[in-house]
């Protein structure tokens, strides 16, 4: 994936945002911004261009799933990829996220290797779709 893509990291815990940001930087993705819940993320998506959203699910205000639904309902964000990074590990939830159009699902706690795998997979699919 192009390392210059603009990534929005969404999590209500500042430590998790920092960990994700550090891991992304280690993988070469330095163009990141942060939001502390779905609402602030949605506002950021309205005003700035992003290529990828890495979001938690369970957050006050607006959940990551509602953020995903909003993104998928907005034609302007048709190419925006959404990677869910969450502690929600029930089968039903994973299926629900898939039905809502998530591009990847990572269960917390996770490793740098898993994050890289999912980013690579999203990149492969993006290239495949464009070809």
């Amino acid at each position: 994936m192009d390392k210059n893509i603009r990534i929005l990291i969404v999590d209500d815990f500042s430590t998790m945002r920092r960990i994700v940001k550090n891991l992304l930087h280690d993988l070469g993705y330095a163009n990141t911004a942060e939001a502390d819940d779905g609402k602030t993320a949605w506002a950021a998506l309205q005003t700035g261009h992003f290529d990828l959203v890495v979001t938690d699910w369970n957050m006050p205000g607006m959940t990551g799933l509602d953020l995903l639904k909003n993104v998928r309902a907005d034609a302007r964000m048709a190419t925006l990829k959404v990677l869910m990074v969450t502690a929600e590990a029930q089968r039903d939830q994973i299926i629900e996220a898939a039905k809502c159009g998530v591009n990847g699902y990572i269960i917390k706690p996770f490793t740098a290797v898993t994050l890289k795998e999912k980013l690579d997979k999203i990149a492969q699919r993006t290239v495949g779709a464009a070809a």
Binding site: S14, R18, E88, A89, Q93, I94, A98, I107
Partner: protein, 204 residues
């Protein structure tokens, strides 16, 4: 509009019986609670223990967040040490490959830089170990809250008594629309491999 007035005298005796019955039950419940000491225990739990427990758990959240940030700060310091080690490696490689006698001043400067990096790394590792002390403190707080929850649970079970056994099923543990959150030991939940296989079966 006389109809309601005409029906009122008929319902009054029933109401009076009902009110008397409720009053009797309330008195009986109150007496029972007082005899068992349950009212005092429950009042204590609801009035002060629970709010206190919430404050303590808020403190745990803050404590763990502070410790995580402190740890991440120290990791950043560790990265800076790694960067200076890389500089030393470059310098030593250059000295090694340069023709003629070794530049003593540059070599000494590298040795000094290595000493400095060693000192910084040791201090960072010590601070990293110290930053884990939150586990002891937060663990103590959480244990106190567990004791409170167990005591309250005991008082509620005594209060419910036989009624609990006749219940068709145990009470629902959480609201239906609440997310399950992190998986607990023994809880059925997917790991990353399960999630990957499930998504693959859905065409992801």
């Amino acid at each position: 509009m006389n109809a309601p007035a005409a029906s009122a005298p008929q319902s009054q005796p029933d109401d009076a019986v009902l009110y008397a019955g409720v009053a009797r039950l309330t008195r009986s419940l109150h007496d029972g609670l007082r005899q068992l000491g349950l009212d005092a225990r429950l009042a204590q739990a609801a009035g002060s223990d629970m709010p206190d427990a919430c404050k303590r758990l808020d403190l745990v959240v803050q404590m763990t967040e502070d410790a995580a940030h402190r740890t991440l700060d120290l990791v950043d310091e560790g990265r800076a040490v790694a960067d200076s080690l890389a500089d030393m490696r470059t310098c030593l490689a250059r000295l090694h490959s340069s023709p003629g006698p070794v530049n003593g001043g540059e070599l000494l400067g590298t040795i000094t830089a290595a000493e400095d990096a060693e000192t910084r790394l040791r201090a960072t590792l010590t601070a990293l170990a110290q930053a884990q002390e939150y586990q002891d403190l937060s663990g103590q707080v959480i244990r106190r809250v567990i004791t409170l929850v167990r005591n309250t649970e005991g008082a509620l079970l005594e209060l419910l008594g036989d009624a609990l056994q006749s219940m068709p099923q145990p009470p629902i543990s959480s609201a239906a629309d609440e997310l399950p959150g992190p998986a607990l030991p023994g809880m059925q939940a997917a790991d990353q491999g399960d999630a990957d296989r499930l998504l693959a079966s859905l065409g992801f």
